[in-house]
Every structure is written in structure tokens, then in C-alpha cells.
């Protein structure tokens, strides 16, 4: 079942650094500095090739915009970025017949600026990257909400407004697909399943640096005039858009490639690297979330990639896949985009459900209620998510006879989604609920997602969809599900796992200020926008009916304060990590999860010996519960068997058999 370390030969994780190596200047090797250099060289080469190829095209001469050079520049720039970071070193060395350089364990803060094969470092790198995406796109939102303070007076004007709206939407969607899978998926999955790393550490690192490349590519859009198509980029508006559209298409391609790699890696890791005893029924619920999300990423994202590729061809090679007038179909992009786009909604939702499931059990001191139902719900959501995409096209004029079917599918998906509430509510039932920060974020997620889910029913109903489709109602709905659901779960998990990841607790007072500001002002921002949409305000407009100014202004001011809540978070992070770091006690939340039983900090190999998993991590409330794992790989079990003690009895009430740190739930502990 589990892949041996030898089978993952070439990961370089089994090397230990020597004293001589430790003295080497960490900046002499490949890092983001060489990455930037590679990106610059690649971009210039691509641009040059593009000019050589297409500068004589009639369309280039007429418009003065050479989409070929832009696309080639961005694509080769991305390749140069990866090459500069060293992503291809191993493969190139093997192809040329050299023995690849040993990739040793690295320490020090410089490792965060390098391509590393340590899943824990990649997880933390992902965390910083997704936060960079999130805050950048969030700043754009503050700017365009300012434009909507007044229906007629303009702060930034329609062009910049639409560019910001489009950048915001695109970046947030890129970010949200990796928000949990990137940092927490990569960091936690190996720990939770008892593995020493991801199955494909190079793909893992490559997916991260592709994600970072996507951030830079999408931010080149303003240099080329931006794009004003929104994140959906419907053709033929896409085809006629300015050069910034190339950044969108290449950017989504680059991030999409990273998503595919990440999803594939999650599937293979969870399927093959589970420690002995880690049966499917013992998987932590977060791992189930990562597995189902991995399948969605792997199966849905290629459709986006192909869609973007056809879009690039339309804009560069003058094909007409999406141009009706030349024999193409604007419906093609809509279908390709949403065939990816709706599973993407669940790529964003499922990880949040998994995280909250983990936190609820710990902070209500209860087993996860209806564990199998929770896993089945995630599988059901993942399967059904491929059959609902046309509900985005109810008013498009396509396939009217299919509308009842897509209405049914869309409403059916609320059944497995509802399992998450059954599981959450069942877990809370007669629990011992502790209002820690992670728990507060988890409970807030249930509140927000309830509104998001219920408003989704209006959108799935074809007659009501006539009124609410394409309006601010939709906008508020998906902010309730994605921000209210995923982002709240994410921040809960940040507070929950930071002691594990960094060894420091985040400041609780600042954290509570952050939570209450975020929760209150999130709702004050987006609930009025539900009403605004219902009252007839379309999305992405810079002018609107004067009667809606009050609600819009209210939402804008609330949005400023929502933005301020993230300033509090950043201040808390800086304060708690660097200014006044407080060492976290071991397993500060008294969790039974394997990831919390490991020493502080987590060893480079995670486990000196592969653990023997004995139970799922949710045995709260049981008398003499079985330890979750034997961290001596079954050695302790064998020793007891030799002594004539039945294995099950041996573990009962003997947590010291497992890792010493696995002693949990001290009844005398003051909290």
C-alpha cells in the first residue's frame, strides 16, 4: 500500500546535511533571484520570437498590438522562471546522463525563497503566496467599491473600474482554488496519513511556483491595457479585448497547470502513501476533502486549460473557435468555462468543509458525527458538480429543454452539501463547545454558508433565476459561499494550525478583534448586496439606479471595515511571529490528530519510522480510547504481544505506547 522512500528515489529527502554544506551561502544556489532572472530572459526571448513571427500580420499592423509576442513572452517567461528556480534540474541531469545533485535538508529562512522538496516548507510558502493573492485582489475590491459609492460621480471611471473588477475576480478565483489545498493540503496531508512527504515532491514544488508565476502573469495585464471582461471573459468580448486578455488566458493556463499537478499529487499521495493501518475509514475528514478536491482539480481544470488555449489561438493565430460570425460559437467558451467553473466552486468549498470538520471535533470534544456520511457527501458533491454547469446559462438561449434537468441536478447537489450541516450539527450535539478562535471561525462558516446555500436555491430555480441571474444577488451569493465558507474556514485553520506550523500561538485578543470585524462587516457588506441584486442592479456596472445608492454606500463602508479586519490579522501575524512570539505548548488544543502528536518542530522526515495507525483521530469521549497510532511502527505492539498482552487491550488506556506526546484530553487541564 504505502510507497517506500526508495520508490520515491530522487526526492533527495533522505540526505542529511554535512557541516561543510551547512556553511554554504544559501543565496549561491538557485532561488527566486535566479528565478526572476530566468523569467526576464524567457520573457525577452518570447517577445522577440513573437515579433519575428507576427509583426507582419495584417491584424498586428492594423491594431498595433502583437498578441503573439505577448503570449509567447508570458509563456516563455514562466518557463524561464521555473528553470531559474531549478525546476528542471533533475530531469535535465537525468536526460543528459548526469547524477542529479543531492538535494539536502535545508534550514534557515532562506529556504522559503527556494524550490524545496520539503512539503512543510512548500505548505508555508503556499500560505504566503495565497495571502499575497488575497490581499492584492482585496485591495482592488476596495477601489472599485469606492467607485460604487455614488451612482453618477466617478472616482476611477468605467475603464479602470472594469479592469479592477476583472483583476479582482480572476485573482480571487485563482487564489481560492489553492487557498486550502496549497498550504494546508501540502502541509497536513502527509502528516495526517503518516507519510514522509508528498508522492511527487517536485510536482508539489512546481505547482507552488506555477501559482506564484500566475500571480505575476495576471498582474502584467495592466501593462498591456488591462482586460475588461470580468473573470468569466465571455467571447467574443474576450477575442476583441486588449492585450491584458493575454495575461488572463496565459495566467489561467499557468495557474491551471499548477492546480492539475497539485490535485494529481494529492490523489496519488493519499492513495499510495497512507501508513499501515490507515484504512479509508480512518482517514481524517480533511484528507477526504483533499482527495475529492484532488479529483475535481485533476478532472475539471484541463477543460479550463484547453479553453484558454483555444482563446489564445483565436487571439494570435486568428482561429475562430469562439467567433460566431466566422463559424465558431460563443457558447463554446461558455460551456468550457463553466464545465470547469462549477466544479471549481466545490474545489473551493470542499476543503473548507474538511477543515471545519477537523476543528469542530476538537472544540466540541466529540467524535465526528456520521463520518461515513461526511465522506459520502464529499464524494456526492464532487460527482454531481460535473452535471450542473449549465445553470449558469439558463438565460443564454442554449438548450431550453435541458433546463429542468440542470435545475434538478443543481438542487440535488444541495443534498450531499447538506450532509455537512448534518455532520456539524451532530458533532455539536451535547458537546463541550470551547469558543476558541478556530471554533468561532468554524461556527461563522456554518452561518455564512447557510445564507450562501439558501440563496443558491433561488439561483437554481429557473423562473426565479430570470430575476436574480447576473445581478448583485449572484455576486453576494457566491461571496457568501466562497468567502463566507472557504475563507472563514481558512482563517480558522490559520489560527488552529499556526502553533503546529510555526511553534507560536497567534495573539488571541487581536485574533478576536479580527474575527468579529471580519464576521460582522462581511455580513454587512454582502447582505445588502443580495437585496441590491434582487432590486435590479446588474453586476459589473459603474452606474446604477439612484434609489440603490443608500444600500451601495452602506456596503462600501462596511467593505472598508472588512478590509481593515485583515490589517488586524496581518498586524497579529507580525506581532505574534516576530515582535512578541509566544512559544506554543505542545498540542495546545488537545487534539487527537496524528499531526498534533509529532514533536515540535515536526522532524524533517516527519516520522522516524512509519507509524502504525490504530484508529481514526475522533475517539473523543470514549473510556480508554485506542491511541491513534503506534509511532514505533508497530514495535510497541509486537513487544506487548510477546509479553502475552492482547494488542487491543494493550493499547487501551496506554497512550504512552504511542508517541509520548499522544497523551491527550487531560481531565485536569484548565482551559
Amino acid at each position: 500500500m504505502a510507497m517506500t522512500e526508495e520508490a520515491r528515489a530522487g526526492t533527495g529527502q533522505h540526505g542529511r546535511i554535512t557541516a561543510r554544506e551547512r556553511q554554504r551561502n544559501p543565496w549561491l544556489g538557485q532561488s527566486v533571484i535566479t528565478g526572476f532572472a530566468g523569467a526576464a530572459i524567457g520573457y525577452l526571448l518570447g517577445h522577440l520570437f513573437g515579433n519575428i513571427i507576427a509583426s507582419n500580420y495584417a491584424v498586428v499592423k492594423a491594431s498595433g498590438v502583437n498578441n503573439v509576442s505577448i503570449c509567447l513572452g508570458l509563456a516563455l517567461g514562466t518557463l524561464g522562471w521555473l528553470a531559474g528556480l531549478g525546476a528542471f534540474n533533475y530531469a535535465v541531469a537525468k536526460i543528459l546522463g548526469y547524477e542529479p545533485a543531492k538535494e539536502e535538508e535545508t534550514t534557515g529562512w532562506q529556504r522559503y525563497f527556494k524550490m524545496t522538496l520539503d512539503h512543510k516548507v512548500v505548505g508555508l510558502q503556499y500560505l504566503i503566496a495565497v495571502l499575497g493573492f488575497f490581499f492584492t485582489a482585496g485591495l482592488f475590491a476596495e477601489a472599485f467599491r469606492t467607485e460604487l459609492l455614488s451612482p453618477y460621480s466617478h472616482f476611477i471611471g468605467p475603464d479602470v473600474y472594469l479592469q479592477l473588477v476583472s483583476e479582482h475576480g480572476t485573482m480571487m478565483m485563482m487564489m481560492a482554488t489553492s487557498l486550502v489545498v496549497g498550504p494546508f493540503g501540502n502541509y497536513l496531508v502527509p502528516l495526517m496519513i503518516g507519510a514522509r512527504g508528498m508522492a511527487f515532491p517536485r510536482l508539489e514544488a512546481t505547482s507552488l511556483w506555477l501559482f506564484v508565476a500566475g500571480y505575476m502573469v495576471i498582474l502584467t495585464a495592466p501593462v498591456y491595457g488591462g482586460f475588461n471582461t470580468g473573470w468569466t471573459a465571455y467571447a467574443p468580448l474576450q477575442t476583441e479585448a486588449r492585450g491584458g486578455m493575454d495575461s488572463y488566458l496565459i495566467g489561467f493556463g499557468v495557474v491551471g497547470l499548477g492546480m492539475i499537478l497539485n490535485g494529481f499529487n494529492q490523489i496519488v499521495t493519499i492513495t499510495n502513501l497512507r501508513a499501515p493501518g490507515m484504512r479509508w475509514t480512518r482517514l481524517p475528514i480533511f484528507v477526504w476533502a483533499m482527495l475529492t478536491t484532488g479529483f475535481l482539480l485533476t478532472l475539471a481544470t484541463p477543460v479550463l486549460f484547453v479553453g484558454a488555449y483555444l482563446g489564445v489561438l483565436d487571439r494570435t493565430a486568428q482561429t475562430s473557435f469562439y467567433v460566431n460570425a466566422h463559424g465558431g460559437s460563443s457558447y463554446l467558451w461558455e460551456n468550457l468555462f463553466w464545465f470547469f467553473g462549477h466544479p471549481e466552486v466545490y474545489i473551493m468549498a470542499l476543503p473548507g468543509f474538511g477543515l471545519v470538520g477537523e476543528m469542530l471535533t476538537v472544540f466540541s470534544r466529540k467524535p465526528l458525527f456520521a463520518y461515513k456520511v461526511a465522506a459520502a457527501g464529499m464524494i456526492g458533491v464532487a460527482l454531481l458538480s460535473f452535471f450542473v454547469w449549465q445553470h449558469h446559462l439558463f438565460q443564454s438561449g442554449i438548450n431550453p429543454d435541458m433546463r429542468p434537468l440542470f435545475m434538478l441536478d443543481t438542487e440535488l447537489i444541495s443534498i450531499p452539501t447538506g450532509f455537512i450541516y448534518l455532520v456539524g450539527m451532530g458533532t455539536l450535539w451535547r458537546g463541550r463547545i470551547r469558543f476558541t478562535l478556530p471554533m468561532m471561525f468554524s461556527l461563522a462558516m456554518y452561518f455564512n454558508f447557510l445564507i450562501g446555500g439558501i440563496t443558491g436555491v433561488y439561483l437554481s430555480d429557473v423562473p426565479v433565476n430570470v430575476t436574480v441571474h447576473g445581478s448583485f444577488f449572484v455576486l453576494a451569493h457566491f461571496h457568501y459561499t466562497i468567502m463566507g465558507g472557504l475563507v472563514f474556514a481558512f482563517f480558522g485553520a490559520v489560527y488552529y494550525y499556526m502553533p503546529r506550523v510555526t511553534g507560536h500561538m497567534l495573539n488571541e485578543t487581536l485574533g478576536k478583534i479580527h474575527f468579529w470585524m471580519m464576521f460582522v462587516f462581511f455580513n454587512l457588506t454582502f447582505f445588502p448586496l443580495l437585496i441590491v441584486g434582487f432590486l435590479g442592479m446588474p453586476r459589473r456596472v459603474f452606474e446604477y439606479a439612484p434609489r440603490l445608492q443608500g444600500l451601495n454606500a452602506f456596503a462600501t463602508v462596511a467593505d472598508y471595515l472588512l478590509g481593515l479586519s485583515f490589517v488586524v490579522f496581518v498586524a497579529n501575524f507580525i506581532w505574534s511571529m516576530w515582535i512578541d512570539p509566544k512559544p506554543a505548548p505542545h498540542n495546545p488544543w488537545q487534539s487527537r490528530g496524528i499531526e498534533w502528536q509529532l514533536p515540535d518542530p515536526v522532524p524533517f522526515h516527519n516520522f522516524d519510522r512509519l507509524p502504525l495507525i490504530l484508529s481514526d483521530p475522533y475517539h473523543y469521549g470514549e473510556e480508554d480510547p485506542l491511541p491513534v497510532a503506534d509511532f514505533r511502527g508497530g514495535g510497541a505492539l509486537a513487544a506487548l504481544a510477546e509479553a502475552g498482552v492482547a494488542p487491543f487491550d494493550a493499547y487501551a488506556g496506554r497512550p504512552e505506547i504511542a508517541h509520548p506526546a499522544s497523551h491527550i484530553s487531560d481531565p485536569g487541564r484548565e482551559v
Binding site: P367, V457, P463
Partner: protein, 333 residues
């Protein structure tokens, strides 16, 4: 660490804590539902968007109300449960940490949950399908071959043309004249034929409860029946470029006689300009040489003109002056 003996009593005895919690929660949900449901039906319903100017709008309003009434008990139940849990099962600060009872599953609860959510979903589906089919597509764009059509003999076709960044309207039964103002007769079935000359737009006549995407070279048909006079706001609901936010105008639903006199008057006044327009067609394609105003009519015969309103070949006297024949759309040319 462990559950107390009392916690472990999961049977059906009177002092069972499970039963006590259930009773209280059910009572809260019942009382909340009894208060909220009549409020929604008798007070909120009439204020629900988008009003009652057309059958489609009234249908949307009714549907939104029914969905809200279906959703309300669910929302009340979930909110009541979480509030109750946070208050009653809160771990006292400073108290020794103990675990809750090890309840891993409950088949009765799980089966009931599955049954209830499935029933709600199937109810919503059957209701939504009925409300989609019976009022002729509920005002949504049905594409060039609509399958849910009115049976009325008097259907006024109005072509809606989206272009960056304005809406224009052609009245094929009045010689195909084109205006920038939407005027409709009261108490009449309207067939909106929505198309675009450039990118995708979306025709959203808010008070009419009509929304249909305007795709280039596509005839997207939506039906509704007007039933109140008044002003109509038309907006573009699909991002179509820089001035998307400014792509709106207003229309009016007027009495039949007012409409007829307006249409005949406009047809006559616009006749010289109508000659310069491309001949009426359900869709238009860009013309490379700029002939016919830059567009030429598509030569593809669209079935939409023949696939609905079969009874429309009857006497025209039902609507004074409004030509209802769908076969003779070119007759005005």
C-alpha cells in the same frame, strides 16, 4: 475525558437529555415557522421583486415567495440549533476539560435528514419545473427554438438588438422600424427576439420579468404577457465592454390603443430611415463592406418564427392594429 453516566442514557426514557433538547428545538422551529410563514405570504409577497407588470414577473414573484417559504423553516431550524448549542453546550471557562458523549452516528437522525432534504429538493424541482413550463418559459430566453410557448392568437413580436452599448428595438409587424425606446401594449403576449450585433449582451427588462442573452447570430426568444401599464427599466445584464454600466434605457407598457397609434405613427415617420436599415431578419451578421448599415441579414431560416403561436394566423381584430401573423414578418418590408 469521558462521558458521564447521564450522557450515556440514549434510550427513550423521560429524563433522556436527548429528548429534552429535541423537544425544545422542535418547539422553537414550530413557533418560528408559524410566525414567519403567514408573514411571508400575506405581507412580504406583494413587495417581492420584480412586481406584477407581466405574467412572467408575477410568476417570478410567486416563485420567490414560495421558495422563501420553503427555505424559512430550514433557516430557522439551523439557526435555532446553532444558537441552542452555543448556549446550552458551551464549555464553562476555567472548568476542567471533559469530552462529550461519544456519539458517532444515529441512523434514525441520518435517515430523517436524508428524507427531509430529498423531499424539499424534489418539491422545489417539481414546483420550479411547473412554473417554468406553464407560463411559457417564465420570461427566460429559450433560444431560437422555444419549446414552452403561449397558445394565444395575438403575440406581438419585438426584436431586441444589443450592440455596444445600446439597446434598439425593431417591430417586424410594423414594417420593421427601429427605435431606441421599448413600447409595448398592455394585456398582450409579447415575443422578444433578442440578438446582438457584436458581443454577448443580456436583455433584462426588470419589471417585465424577462431576461434573455443577446448572442451574435442567435435569435433568443422569450415570452411574457403584459398585464399592467407602467415604466420599464431595461439593463444589460452581461458584461459587454467599457460602457456596459451605461447600457440601459427605459420602456413603457401602454394601453393597446396608445401603442397602436404610437406604432403606426412611428412606422410612418421612420419609413425613410427604415429603408436604410438592413432588411428585417432574426439575426444579423457584420458586413465587410459596410453595406446595409454595416450588417446584412442572416440567410439562415430560423424556425422560431414558425414554432410558436400556431393560432396566430387567426383574425387580427383581437388587437386593433397589431399585426399578429408570424408568417408575414417580411410583409412589412
Amino acid at each position: 475525558m469521558t462521558a458521564t453516566d447521564g450522557d450515556r442514557r440514549d434510550g427513550g426514557r423521560a429524563d433522556d437529555p436527548n429528548r429534552r433538547h429535541w423537544r425544545f428545538l422542535l418547539l422553537v422551529v414550530l413557533v418560528g415557522t408559524i410566525i414567519v410563514e403567514p408573514l411571508l405570504w400575506f405581507v412580504i409577497r406583494v413587495h417581492m421583486p420584480p412586481g406584477r407588470q407581466t405574467t412572467a414577473a408575477q410568476g417570478d414573484q410567486f416563485d420567490a415567495t414560495v421558495l422563501t417559504m420553503m427555505a424559512s423553516p430550514v433557516v430557522i431550524a439551523v439557526l435555532a440549533y446553532f444558537t441552542y448549542a452555543m448556549v446550552v453546550w458551551r464549555h464553562p471557562k476555567g472548568a476542567p476539560l471533559v469530552d462529550g458523549p461519544p456519539i458517532r452516528s444515529n441512523l434514525k437522525v441520518q435517515a430523517s435528514w436524508l428524507f427531509m432534504t430529498s423531499a424539499i429538493v424534489m418539491g422545489a424541482f417539481v414546483f420550479g419545473t411547473y412554473e417554468l413550463i406553464v407560463p411559457a418559459g417564465a420570461g427566460g430566453g429559450e433560444g431560437p427554438s422555444p419549446i414552452w410557448t403561449p397558445t394565444s392568437k395575438t403575440i406581438l413580436p419585438v426584436q431586441v438588438i444589443g450592440q455596444q452599448w445600446q439597446w434598439t428595438y425593431r417591430y417586424p409587424t410594423y414594417g420593421g422600424f427601429e427605435t431606441t425606446q421599448l413600447v409595448l401594449p398592455d394585456n398582450t403576449w409579447i415575443a422578444f427576439h433578442v440578438t446582438s450585433l457584436d458581443v454577448i449582451h443580456s436583455f433584462w427588462a426588470y419589471q417585465l420579468g424577462v431576461k434573455a442573452d443577446a448572442n451574435p447570430q442567435v435569435d433568443d426568444v422569450a415570452f411574457t404577457k403584459t398585464q399592467q401599464t407602467g415604466k420599464v427599466t431595461v439593463r444589460c445584464d452581461e458584461l459587454c465592454g467599457i460602457w456596459h454600466g451605461a447600457m440601459y434605457n427605459y420602456g413603457y407598457v401602454v394601453s393597446r390603443s396608445s401603442f397602436n397609434s404610437w406604432a403606426l405613427r412611428t412606422e410612418k415617420r421612420q419609413a425613410p430611415l427604415t429603408k436604410l436599415l438592413p432588411p428585417f431578419s432574426w439575426t444579423y451578421s457584420p458586413s465587410a463592406n459596410g453595406a446595409g448599415g454595416g450588417y446584412y441579414p442572416s440567410s439562415i431560416p430560423f424556425p422560431s418564427s414558425e414554432s410558436y403561436g400556431k393560432g396566430a394566423s387567426g383574425p387580427e381584430g383581437n388587437l386593433p392594429g397589431v399585426k399578429v401573423s408570424h408568417k408575414g414578418l417580411s410583409g412589412g418590408q
